[in-house]
Symmetry: C2
Subunit: 336 residues, 2 copies
């Protein structure tokens, strides 16, 4: 008893995390198919004691699947996701290809499960930095209404993928050994450096990543009145994205009330005891399912201002876990 | 012909940079005295072809000095700076000990030279993250008036000192080798991690570093109406601090006018060509005298909003260079 599930991009950083998360959460699987580009065909991965061979991602592969999790980039999704839907699959797509399309629900289960009900075969998984942000701010938005938000992100290299993880490792070792630094993935050295560019630049001088955070947040919260600006920065961290978030709320609040709401919010874990140097950090979030929040404090520079520091594992809650949670909700709501 | 100059804290990261900057800028020195704690006594450093022995910092050492640059922490400054002033020295203090005292000028030469005129023997050098911020925003404030500012900093370990530089190096090597991580300087691992705490926490849940940025900026700009909030984060970078700065201006602006003003501003270097992946980065700023600014773009989330990304070498412009520049101005203005 279970679902026939396929992972497109199974050999990538997120694909590998999906295999792990499916097993950990005991998702009801009748058959697991691992799909990737031709060059990965034949590689084997273990799932629940079984060795599974990677097959080439082609339209025909979706005929015997119920659910397909896509995480192989926007161009693969654009080419194959519609084919998978045509073949009767429900697609949960981790790429940016369809996120802003009107008939595609963009879902974070803790925030907007309702959006799943009208799905037409394709559901989009939001961008990593957006997911952890909305999980934490949604309960505050529900009660106090967010008027404006200034977000600065500190994003780990795993958001770029496996090759970027290797690049940070290799460059760091070279630097420490006093050897020359080689660049392949990023335009600049990332080891012991910061790169204030994630994804390409748009005409408005923002990066695509910065505008994803603005546009996806509004779509998920279904509130286009929220004003958002963001700056996204790549940092020499392997896993977990961190965010410095400044909120201007419409209604006044008590700090202890904010803490209580966050403590009770689904998917959120408050780590906030400054006196003991307790606050969220990338290393703490790595491998966990929570969106950590700390450094919760009033911003006196504006009426009803609030500062937060939010950290989550970008491969798990920011990608693989959120996709699997969507699949779980589809099962629960009998929408697959 | 020249001044008898002493450096207190000569063996530290900033002290060493001061020796370098004095030589590079050919500051008129008749005699250079290197002072430090008893445990560094006898160490030797080269200055303009001469070997200089480190002496213990004691009140008597200031009797034959004209200028003393202090960079040995607030407690040493509190104990010895008043003694140096009593001995007739002009003190330029890099610690936080006297910065907010009313009769102590807090000076960034590009911004508020005028404040030097009323000095009473002691001049304070602002905090590293404040200096690079005010150099860039002051010309904008003069023209457009800053109403509110949201700042998130990415601060390198050299801001903590030599031992922190060694800690990042050692932890990074251990991590890459799969060996256990040892912590001495920071309460948490800094290698491949982020620590959202710089200095101690205050009652308002902000760190001292965060409030320094707020209070010192207002004092230097001599405008206590500016609203400021900040979040300061330690990042695994050796040298240079970076800042994501969101400004709300009172007057409307044209982006090209902002660029022109910044290009002409003293001490500022605009690095901003997104299409070519040109923007300020820590590695670019290291060893240079500029406050780099890039990612200059309109923030549409508020009327007259502007986003900036500011990077500077925290040991040079953030500390040693600014202190030496103050000394140069004192000489020029015959105030020493």
């Amino acid at each position: 008893m279970g679902y026939r599930l396929g992972i497109v991009g199974a050999t990538g950083a997120v694909g590998q995390e999906m295999i792990k998360v499916l097993a950990q959460r005991k998702f009801p699987i009748a058959d697991l198919k691992l799909l990737a580009s031709a060059r990965s065909t034949g590689r084997e991965f273990e799932f629940e004691g079984e060795r599974i061979k990677v097959r080439e991602a082609k339209p025909i592969e979706f005929n015997d699947l119920d659910i397909a999790l896509f995480s192989a980039g926007a161009s693969v999704s654009k080419a194959l996701a519609p084919e998978a839907v045509k073949a009767g699959c429900v697609v949960i797509d981790n790429s940016s290809a369809f996120r802003m399309e009107e008939n595609v629900p963009l879902v974070v289960p803790e925030v907007n499960i309702g959006a799943l009900k009208t799905h037409q075969g394709l559901i989009a998984n939001p961008n990593c930095s957006t997911i952890q942000l909305v999980v934490v701010i949604n309960p505050l938005h529900q009660l106090y209404r967010i008027r404006r938000m200034v977000v600065t992100t500190f994003q780990s290299v795993s958001g770029t993928g496996r090759r970027a993880i290797e690049e940070l490792r290799r460059q760091s070792a070279s630097f420490l050994a006093g050897e020359p630094i080689e660049k392949e993935v990023y335009p600049h050295q990332i080891a012991f450096n910061l790169i204030p560019q994630i994804d390409v630049f748009l005409d408005n001088l923002y990066t695509k990543e910065e505008m994803k955070l603005v546009n996806e947040t509004r779509k998920i919260l279904n509130d286009y009145s929220i004003k958002i600006t963001s700056t996204c920065v790549r940092v020499p961290v392997f896993i977990s994205h961190s965010e410095s978030v400044n909120l201007e709320l419409e209604k006044s609040f008590e700090l202890r009330e904010v803490r209580k709401i966050l403590k009770e919010a689904p998917g959120v874990k408050v780590e906030d005891d400054p006196g003991k140097s307790i606050y969220p950090m990338p290393l703490m979030a790595e491998g966990t399912d929570f969106c950590f929040v700390g450094r919760i404090r009033r911003d006196e520079s504006v009426k009803s201002g609030l500062n937060l520091w939010i950290v989550a594992d970008n491969l798990r809650k920011g990608a693989a876990l959120n996709a699997v949670q969507i699949a779980e909700e589809l099962v629960k709501l009998k929408l697959v």
